[in-house]
């Protein structure tokens, strides 16, 4: 059948662990935003945001268990955003 898919999703327990993890990471981000203001540490909340995004996309959005096609699509889009970001950084940085 054309629309047939082989789709998986984790159960309640996995989502509970992911939820707890992202909440703890939020506390860590909020604390680091107030306490770590030197050098590269300033970007630490962004690193945490990235980790939370990966967790939400992988589990809540089911990308971990999704067909490879969807994962490739997401990586292509993220790659485009990264390239655009690099162009922007180069432009702003060398003005």
């Amino acid at each position: 059948m054309a629309n047939e898919t082989h789709n998986k999703t984790p159960g309640y327990g996995t989502f509970l662990v992911v939820w707890g993890t992202v909440l703890v990471l939020t506390i860590a981000a909020a604390a680091s935003g107030r306490l770590l203001n030197e050098g590269l540490w300033k970007s630490f909340p962004l690193f945490i945001a990235l980790v939370k995004t990966v967790l939400i996309a992988s589990f809540f959005m089911n990308l971990k268990y999704e067909r490879g096609f969807f994962r490739v699509m997401v990586f292509v889009v993220l790659g485009v955003i990264l390239i655009l970001g690099l162009f922007l950084y180069t432009d702003v940085g060398y003005r």
């Binding site: 789709n7 998986k8 989502f15 909020a30 962004l46 945490i48």
Partner: protein, 206 residues
């Protein structure tokens, strides 16, 4: 924690075509915000002091609470998918009600935060803003634009999830056909992810 991976090979449940369309839509939404984040970063590079002073005036407590609220709502909508797959209709309905309620709570909290700023004369076209520097003006302009646009997306998500709640109630969305609920949940998760970055850029990093 040991957990069961649910598998689904039935046609229609994980309808690839509709999911593909939904992901394409999500990418357009993502780019809408990515462009605004690029604008934010460009101006931040030009006015680091102004952005810093404006950022520390924002209410970080409400923003942190709102992050908890949206993350929990994302968890609830994810639970609704597991529940519908298992055929637990009542759990699905309650998970959706919790998601919608948390979405509304997020908007209420955001309203309080905006009111606090507006009462201090900080809003677009306010005379009080002219006394601040250019960097702070740009920061607050982007703050209202981006959090406002995000709030509109939250309202859209709430409406969508309310429709799904009705569909689950009347059986149009069920164990045998839940693609629409899955796609609505994807939208809600994207709204959550966008907020994670709004929180990081406006309240923490600047």
């Amino acid at each position: 924690m040991r957990d069961t991976i649910l598998e689904d090979t039935e046609a229609g449940n994980g309808d690839t075509t509709s999911k593909f369309g939904m992901w394409l839509f999500l990418f357009t939404e993502l780019f809408l915000f990515v462009v605004l984040f690029f604008v934010f970063l460009s101006y931040r590079a030009s006015y680091p002091e102004g952005f810093h002073h404006a950022s520390i005036r924002l209410n970080g407590v409400i923003a942190t609470a709102n992050t908890f609220i949206l993350l929990t709502s994302s968890f609830a909508v994810a639970i609704s998918i597991v529940a519908i797959r298992k055929g637990h209709k009542r759990v699905t309905i309650w998970a959706l009600i919790v998601t919608i309620a948390l979405g509304v709570l997020f908007l209420v909290m955001k309203g309080f935060e905006w009111r606090e700023k507006i009462e201090h004369g900080i809003y677009p076209t306010a005379k009080g803003l002219s006394g601040l520097g250019e960097g702070e003006n740009l920061f607050y302009g982007l703050y209202y634009l981006m959090t406002g646009l995000h709030a509109l997306h939250v309202i859209g998500g709430i409406v969508l999830l309310f429709v799904m709640l009705c569909f689950v109630g009347n059986g149009r969305v069920s164990r045998g056909s839940y693609g629409a609920l899955e796609n609505s949940a994807l939208y809600w998760h994207l709204v959550d992810i966008i907020w994670i970055y709004l929180f990081s850029f406006f309240y923490l990093v600047s």
